[in-house]
């Protein structure tokens, strides 16, 4: 069945000669209708036997109206989703230098291990005597994270980075309450991820922004000006979202602690410093670790993530339930406060069950493969690649904080595009035509027209060189005034630029059955 709506509204008018096809397809790029347009409610791709007749026990609550869910047979399902997959760009497709997101190689050994029945086919509430290997794995991953962070405890259950932030800030709020204090302010740099202020606000804190100084880092003196007995914590990303290491970090931690507040570190960029420095040695009290960034579990088109939180000795007693305890007597699961032991005061529970086990297996497979030496090398290669790219583009593109070294990501602004009529977004879209996933654009918000480029350690030098050559060619074209190459981009992707304003003004968030007159008109 052809997709009527998927084809050009007026074929041939908007598109270059020679591109028009009867189907709307372009060879390997095949237009694909929605399952609601091709499937039927009486079709199924799963062979199930009908159970023997029974008298139901639903108490009169059985469903009576049809659901409307379409079904496809197995071959149709396979083809539908394979075709859709071919409209996506992944790390396995090519360079994916999305700053702050750490799109590194996802080893398939991780996937194979997570699918072992001993990990994938165990229930979170089956007797603990039947899941000793699972508890051992959690304890082992925890041990690695303790060693890498230099912090004594890890709360393993947070489901993603933002969930980890919430968990860490909850531990801070609980620790303050245990001291009989209720503070109202959280200091957050202007360049922070949006999740930081959103998390603080969720817990009722007022967010006090702190600006960066000219070199892109936070000035300890600016922090000190904002510290008071009302400040509960500072939330600082390090390396920060400009790709720079906060070199006043130790002084900031000391000032924050002197004011009786806690230091939350956003660990989104931990991948730059694994094996080079331990956050615990810098005075951090809580830091989430995105297993899907630093430790290579796949991003999956937007999750699932995993966001374990490392806690300092001051916060460790407040770690949420459940948790795995490893001591001389072995490994055991603590599910209730009364089992937690002397001195512990868990602040509660943040989700059902024990956290993202599937991600734990993948992350540990990655750690074991790399070892401590390999992970240190990975951090060094990530920083080296980012600086190589920065140094190779610095003569053409402008850097917001001057020509200085960066950590794992290189940041440019759009001053170099002034007068060309080409925007950061145009430049990003032109990269798509060249076969690259664009960098992060317009983030951090404090840098105008930001382009945040994170090549990661997974690119070969040949790959980096090609990306640099392509970006240099684009930059020179922009400066020459070759506007068409940018404002019309992408020309070669499965779709041209999409109308986001229309999507937001007249939201269509689900398929609905077309009105009958439309069918008649067809």
């Amino acid at each position: 069945m052809l997709n009527r709506e998927g084809r050009p509204a007026e074929a041939g008018k908007a598109r270059a000669a020679g591109q028009h096809t009867f189907t709307g397809n372009r060879a390997l790029q095949i237009e694909e209708a929605l399952i609601f347009e091709t499937g039927r409610t009486d079709v199924t791709g799963v062979d199930l036997d009908e159970p023997p007749a029974f008298a139901n026990r639903l108490g009169g609550l059985e469903r009576t109206a049809p659901i409307g869910l379409p079904g496809l047979t197995e071959p149709e399902t396979m083809r539908h989703y394979v075709r859709l997959s071919q409209k996506n760009y992944g790390i396995d497709t090519g360079p994916f230098p999305l700053g702050s997101c750490t799109m590194k190689h996802n080893p398939r050994l991780n996937e194979k291990m997570a699918r072992l029945p001993g990990f994938a086919d165990i229930h979170p509430l089956q007797p603990t005597s039947t899941v000793e290997g699972a508890l051992e794995l959690i304890a082992e991953l925890s041990r690695w994270l303790v060693a890498l962070t230099g912090m004594p405890a890890i709360a393993m259950t947070p489901k993603a980075g933002a969930h980890g932030e919430l968990t860490g800030m909850m531990a801070i709020k609980a620790a303050l309450a245990a001291r009989g204090e209720k503070r109202s302010v959280v200091i957050v740099p202007e360049s922070a991820h949006g999740t930081n202020p959103a998390t603080a606000a969720l817990l009722g804190y007022r967010v006090e922004p702190v600006p960066a100084r000219k070199d892109g880092t936070v000035d300890v003196e600016e922090v000190k000006k904002r510290l008071s007995p009302e400040v509960a914590a500072i939330m600082l990303t390090n390396p920060n979202t400009c790709g720079l290491f906060e070199r006043d970090v130790v002084a900031i931690a000391e000032a924050v602690h002197a004011a009786g507040a806690y230091f939350y570190a956003d660990g989104a960029n931990f991948n730059a410093i694994v094996g080079k420095v331990r956050p615990g040695d810098l005075g951090v009290d809580a830091m989430h670790i995105n297993l899907h960034k630093t430790f290579s579990t796949p991003h999956g088109g937007g999750g699932p993530g995993a966001g374990p939180v490392a806690l300092s000795a001051a916060l460790a007693p407040f770690a949420p339930l459940p948790h795995v305890v490893a001591d001389a007597s072995g490994v055991r699961l603590v599910e209730h406060a009364e089992e937690a032991g002397a001195g512990a005061a868990p602040f509660g529970r943040i989700c059902a069950f024990h956290g993202q086990m599937g991600m734990f297996v993948r992350a540990l497979a990655y750690m074991l493969s790399h070892g401590a030496d390999g992970m240190r090398q990975a951090s060094e290669d990530a920083v080296l690649s980012a600086n190589y790219l920065r140094a190779s583009l610095a003569d053409l593109m402008s850097q917001p904080f001057g020509d200085r070294f960066c950590m794992h990501e290189a940041l440019f602004d759009d001053r170099w595009l002034e007068g060309t009529g080409i925007t950061t977004l145009d430049f990003a879209k032109a990269m798509i035509d060249e076969g690259f996933h664009p960098m992060t654009v317009y983030f951090p918000l404090v840098v105008r027209g930001a382009m945040l480029i994170e090549p990661t350690e997974s690119e070969s030098k040949a790959s980096l060189d090609l990306m640099i050559a392509a970006m240099r060619d684009l930059a020179m074209a922009a400066k020459r005034g070759d506007k068409a190459r940018f404002t019309g981009a992408p020309a070669h992707a499965p779709r041209r630029r999409l109308d986001e304003t229309r999507a937001a003004r007249q939201p269509v968030l689900r398929w609905t059955k077309p009105a009958p007159q439309n069918l008649a008109a067809e």
């Binding site: 396995d92 202020p197 088109g301 699932p304 989700c351 059902a352």
Partner: protein, 449 residues
């Protein structure tokens, strides 16, 4: 190292281009006295074969659900997932993509999310659904926060038969966000007076159906009372397969439906990653948390999809966002969508009937055992039995004889001694007649009758 493409020669050339003598020069901003001079005291790199050996040794210590007669539920369920699902979600273009910020090269993810949102809305009987949450429990906590925003009230009323983990998750967020929670006592045998507790101070009523003990609830009278008091009804579903057979919450007046979607497409995986479903009414959409995919057109007029209504979200609104959520459960949502596409309405309904029939057969057989009582007059694929003595001891004794027979309620409610003799038992399409017979025989043996 097999994951690192740069060679020593590459590194030297790159350092030269940058103009530094060695790699440490690039780490100069890190305080010198804090820098690690050598790799940490952890194992060194290992071959794929060696890593596989280590992890297999751990996996082999666990008892997989598929290897024994298995009846454990309580918010996570053992179902058969077709091989097609796992193959498709491992396609590189799905597995290794990011959140679809560049829609022109993310139409695969975006269209599947649009399909997912539509399927979830249909299944729950609601108007709109988001692109997924972490899991059912966190979705429930977000639903309560959304109800507070919509009603400008800050007190949630929770049914006592809500999954205890969900109750604790909601209560933890509420306590630390300084909101109020009223949680009723569990009523495993039914008879809870939720309606009598609703007044105009309540922002929302949270009810699970089938509930933690397996009972089904007619939500319509609760919705009516809630709406009359200006409160919202939040329906929680932890076994989404039930929606193939049971009246959906949307048809009974629910304002927000949250569900755990694990049962469709996703393995047990010791509790995660799972996929939270979140559906509501169109008029509430701007207060909804999480990502949303929406339909639009491209510059040539072709239909396409984008992430939309981002002005609700943290990366735009920061401290004024509806939620702090960023990453969700994209790949688990994809597995859900593919499995549900394979099932279709006909397949889902049949799967639901198989589950219900499996549970009826088991409940009837267990109820025949002297001393064992089935508490439920209604259930879908899960029910509660009372056994003589300690339920936890019975479950351990069953496990020792190779049957994983359910969850002792005391595992989740240790403080409530009156629930110490209750077991929640789940039966699904994977259970055979032999599994059920083994359960009955071993339970008789354990109880000595």
């Amino acid at each position: 190292m097999r994951y690192l493409p740069l060679t020593p020669e590459d590194r030297a050339e790159m350092l030269a281009r940058i103009g530094v003598p060695d790699i440490d020069a690039l780490f100069a901003d890190i305080p010198a006295d804090k820098r690690l001079r050598a790799p940490l005291d952890l194992p060194r790199r290992q071959s794929e074969l060696a890593v596989e050996r280590t992890l297999r040794r751990m996996a082999d210590k666990n008892v997989p659900a598929g290897s024994v007669p298995f009846f454990v539920g309580c918010g996570a369920y053992k179902h058969h997932v077709p091989a097609t699902v796992d193959h498709l979600i491992q396609r590189s273009e799905f597995l290794t993509a990011y959140t679809p910020y560049q829609p022109e090269i993310s139409q695969g993810t975006l269209q599947t999310l649009f399909e997912f949102q539509t399927q979830v809305a249909m299944l729950t009987g609601m108007e709109v659904a988001n692109a997924s949450m972490y899991d059912g429990s966190t979705a429930a906590a977000e639903a309560v926060l959304m109800a507070h925003r919509l009603t400008k009230r800050r007190k949630a009323l929770l049914s006592g038969n809500l999954h205890p983990h969900y109750r604790d998750t909601i209560a933890t967020v509420a306590r630390l966000a300084e909101d109020e929670i009223v949680a009723l006592a569990p009523a495993p045998a039914g008879g809870e007076d939720l309606i009598g507790r609703i007044d105009d101070s309540v922002s929302c009523v949270v009810v699970q159906t089938p509930d933690f003990y397996g009972r089904l609830h007619d939500l319509a009278p609760i919705a009516e009372k809630a709406h009359a008091a200006g409160a919202l009804l939040i329906a929680v579903v932890t076994e989404v397969v039930s929606l193939g057979l049971v009246r959906p919450p949307g048809d009974m007046g629910a304002d927000i439906v949250v569900a755990e979607g694990q049962s469709i497409g996703n393995p047990l995986s010791f509790g995660g990653p799972y996929v939270g479903l979140f559906a509501t009414r169109q008029k509430f959409v701007r207060q909804m948390p999480g990502r949303l995919a929406g339909e639009t057109i491209d510059a040539e007029g072709r239909r396409g999809y984008v992430l939309t209504l981002a002005t609700r979200e943290q990366h735009i609104r920061r401290e004024k966002a509806t939620s702090n959520i960023c990453t969700n459960s994209g790949l688990c949502a994809l597995a859900f969508t593919i499995h549900l596409t394979l099932l279709g309405e006909a397949g889902l309904k049949r799967l639901a009937r198989l589950n219900h029939a499996s549970a009826i057969a088991l409940a009837d057989a267990l109820g025949q055992i002297p001393g064992v009582t089935v508490l439920n007059d209604t259930f879908f694929n899960e029910f509660t039995i009372r056994v003589p003595g300690s339920a936890a001891s019975v479950i351990d004794a069953l496990a020792a004889k190779g049957v994983l027979g359910g969850v002792p309620v005391s595992r989740l409610e240790p403080a409530r001694k009156e629930l110490g003799d209750l077991i929640v038992v789940a039966a699904t399409e994977v259970n055979t007649d032999e599994d059920r017979a083994a359960y009955v025989a071993v339970l008789r043996e354990v109880l000595g009758c």
